[in-house]
Amino acid sequence: MSYTRGTIAALVDAVVPATPEAGDDVGAAGALDIDLDETVETAFNELQEAPEGPIRSLGYETMPFAPLLALLLDFGALELILAREREEPLQSPGERFAGGPFSRLAPEDRMRAIRLLEADGLFPALDERYDAPIGIVAYLMQGALFITTMAAYSDWGDDAEEPQGWQQANYPGPADGYAVHMGYEVDEFEENDYGTASTDGGDEA
């Protein structure tokens, strides 16, 4: 387990945890049961091609965003801890987690760390101050949650015939069709009057 993978494991586990105690409806398995840490790491490393310039000359064809994501998550966790905004005790990291501060936060505190990174913390404050696209941090945080969630509930994160997330949602998968036609609320729309066009329509430009 690398630092990057293990830190991302702490992320995906907080979003879709294993819930052995939950009822059958909900499904006990979580994101780590389908190795979503690996899916998200790969997705972040393949999010976009590397621009011309220094990153490419280092040999990267795509942006190495996954290690950056892991670093940022730890940065956010550290800020949460230092700012005393943590609400639950630190815990020993899960078996597949890395050893950094993000991996030691309770699940909801991990989300609070993300909120600092995108909205309330140091990075957003720097973004106000400097004329550089620091808001890219917020973009990556949004991407992390979006990708984790979409992958957890689709074949993106589990390419089995019936992915785990589809099973947990009780979604039967793509079908050729459904006989659910109940007629028409309106048979045809009418070409109704739209009044006379007003004359203040647009000379402003």
């Binding site: 976009q48 011309e52 949650l145 949602a169 009780n170 793509p174 109940m182 048979d187 647009g202």
Partner: protein, 593 residues
Amino acid sequence: MTGSGIDMADPDVVVVGAGGDAPALAWRLGQQGIDVLMLEAGPFHGNEQFPNPHDDRGNAASAATGDLSGDLLDQQFTAREGDMGSPVDGKLRWGPADAERAPWARTVPQTGVISQVAGVGGTTLHYYGNHPRAFVPAIDDQPHWPIDYADLVPYYQHLESVHPVKPAPTTPKAELFFEGARRSGYDLTTGLNVDDEGYRPFPNAIHQPDEALARDGDYDGDFRDIDGDTLACHEHQGGPHPRGAEFEDRAKRGSLVSLVPKALDTGHVEIRPNAFATQVLTRAGPGPLEACGVAYRDTWTGRTRRIFADCVVLAAGCIETPRLWLNSGLPDDGWVGRGLTTHHFDFVSGVFDSETLEDIIGQRKVEPHQGQAAGSRLDVPGKGGIAVNTFAPGITASVMFSESVNGFAFENDTSGEPWDTEGRITGTKLKEQMSDYRRMLTLICHTDDRPRQDNGVSLDANTEDEHGPVARLDWSPHPEDDERRLDLARRSAKLLDEAGATHIHRAAAAPIFLHLQSSMAIGKVLDAGGEALSVDRLFVADHSALANGVGGANPTHTGQALALRTAEHLAERYFDGVADPIPADQTPASADD
């Protein structure tokens, strides 16, 4: 010209992009005998010239409807969510056709997600076929448009008859929505021209379903022996149904299956996929500057070429059209790329118990995965619109529960609000919500956000890919846009509550850039005929040409209507005019012509 690998030697018009709107323009030009070469950055699906579009380059171009293959479409469009729609490695993404490569870069220095698709058909490969006209007051009363609503009507009518556009069928989830709307006091709208509140089935560019698919009937076929929509709800995944049908008979009328065949059929249109335009070529003209061609790069071979033509049309979408403009060093008076509108989406969902559902719709689940993805709506001119928007679980989880500007539900106090939870949901709570997927109705709010010069596309001079500096996107809502959105979210919650929802959730969504309009607006960057004010012979025919967000109605109907109109202006100004003007027909459009 043939479907084999060489460029049309000497096109009259070169068009950048073959997405949602460009095929409408190309078709109209082709009808006038004008030779059009379309350069498309992404792949061409369902085409014999490109049998494995994500693995091999295939031939260079396609110019004949005989190349189009329903069988290939069936193979390529699996209807699996991730396989089709992963923004990173799905078949429908903003990136090169080559599956081995990563998506193309954009700089987005804020919370947000972009959803655009590269490929013939563009973002309509994902779209839900929703084709409402603009709200009348958005054109006639807002100050942005240099033309009247009446000028668009003949083009709307034309598209309504050719796609065709028809009232969506009622399905159980639509009936649940209608009942909530009725109980909230809204009336049914039956007119195409909307300037008042009301609910209605969506005017959709989706073939109506076979009558055999009646819910209370006894259809037990295999859905390959019927015509029209199979109600499979796979619009987002490319929507190839009905399986086995001819290419052009697929139910969802995205540009790929509806307008592209018509354009090719004129015998004057050739489409070259895998061709990324990098430069608009200009020369000094009688005016200050005049466009004369385009340079592009083959995305598989890296080879660059120049194509010269009498006119150039940009239709690369709201982000890439201004990027190409700026990378070409064309003049900018401050509005190039600016004034972007994006409908400031929100999402509100309700979960229902089985008894309530039994009462209202005669079945014990909502079944969001059955029936058209978006078949019913509520119009609120002046504020925007609300629509049923349903998805398979992956997109449901991500749009409903993973993106918000209001933090996490576990921190948000919702007392006094019409929703039970607000913001992102994670952990056990997310799993609980998703286990209710089949009893959930999800609504989208499309806000009538207004054009502002601060919002839009510029170049990120520090980030350059093989096509030049990449686009940077900045967009934030004005407080008035936030207010309109909140109003729509509250109406959505009320509607769900009236229908009997037991748990209502508001996403308070972070920007999802998926409806994009007005970044190269007519009246600002373009004249009323769609031609650039500062460069002759250069036109724009995608949603960036729209003067605002059309009030919050889904934009593609207006984008395509305007593209048809722009084609006619181009033909009038630089060729022999239009032989068969589209008539202003005040009678309802018919599906049969």
